[in-house]
Subunit: 131 residues, 2 copies
Amino acid sequence: MKPRHIHHTEDCRAVSAILQRIGDKWTVLVVSKLGNGPMRFNELRHIIGGISQKMLTTTLRGLERDGFVTRTMFPTIPPRVDYDLTELGHELLVPVNALGEWAKQNTNRVNEARAKFDAACPERAKVRKAA
Amino acid sequence: MKPRHIHHTEDCRAVSAILQRIGDKWTVLVVSKLGNGPMRFNELRHIIGGISQKMLTTTLRGLERDGFVTRTMFPTIPPRVDYDLTELGHELLVPVNALGEWAKQNTNRVNEARAKFDAACPERAKVRKAA
DNA sequence: CAGCATCCTCCAGGATACTG
DNA sequence: CAGTATCCTGGAGGATGCTG
């Protein structure tokens, strides 16, 4: 028996769920940076560049909640807070980096397809934020 | 020489970019379904379930534009349109499925961390859509 | 330094109605 | 059947100002 249409619907939903979780604007960027070792709040902020303080807070809080990073407070003055990847965070980085590798190697193909499509039918290309 | 802080910033951005591209609500779901073979518009619509006709159109158009799927029109009456994964689309599925596999195997850990976090400090958990 | 609180904008995405 | 055209809402995310 060799079913052509296996309906692992749950699986698909799982992929979808994780992708939506980490597919926001900053999550993977933060996780990637933390992959190099623990970092302080503003250190992250500046190395990432372009992220608002609010979103960095939100992103880190979410990652902490999901068990991907730890938050260590030093009750000094001024305060110091270190963020670091957990084991789970490091593990997440593996498949994420694999996808990133794929992305790097295929960006050209995508861009070419995109240019071709836009050139072929400018009409239907308006899908993307109307010229 | 063993640099601890390698700044493959471009790489991170690439990961981020692809994740935002496919990290929307429906893209991977559609690609996954098409992984089983070509499908018609409404066939996809029903097998996915819950997707609005507008979003299916938008999602498919985007995937077509980026070279992940092909769109084949049969000028019959009523019209028939087949969507199918391109080679690029199939290749994308590989790392995506790997991530999906990771997701399936670690959802529990994430949920546990989440529950623990919420139980520990309900205050800070309000990050998620305020109780 | 590392946040929290507030306000505001933009757009992903749903609902509905119409068409070749 | 496979769309297109509109309208509308929620929430992601930026900007700014204040605090322990």
